[in-house]
Subunit: 85 residues, 2 copies
Amino acid sequence: MTFDVVVEVRLRPGIADPQGATIERALPALGFDGVSSVGVGKSIRFTLESADEESARAELADLCERFLSNPVIEDSEITLTPVAS
Amino acid sequence: MTFDVVVEVRLRPGIADPQGATIERALPALGFDGVSSVGVGKSIRFTLESADEESARAELADLCERFLSNPVIEDSEITLTPVAS
């Protein structure tokens, strides 16, 4: 089975996010008010071939924890969509 | 009204994505097969205060085009969720 996968990796609550803080500080001067709590993360999209959804989820959980994110400071959220084949 | 906003910024098709290519090349050696078409983008989350959904969408479209993405090489996708107040 083929799946479209989106992994969103974002900093855990409480971890300093200088990119987000910079965006938040800059926007009012650029004419955008009302924006707060800015957080910047990564979004990784790919196609995964796997036997079934269960094995795909197991492989993805392992992949995220070991390579795509740093679980000490980051959380990851996996979205899996089967592709009609 | 308050909205939770997620902006996903990703490279347009055809634009070189060295981060994605590196992940794709590295994974088989690390024991993960079946992963292809890897693309790495940014995901920006924030809270937006705006009069109504229409004005929020207009402001976000402008914000994305002018500051959060480079429309020459990047596409952005906006997801807006009203927050119960």
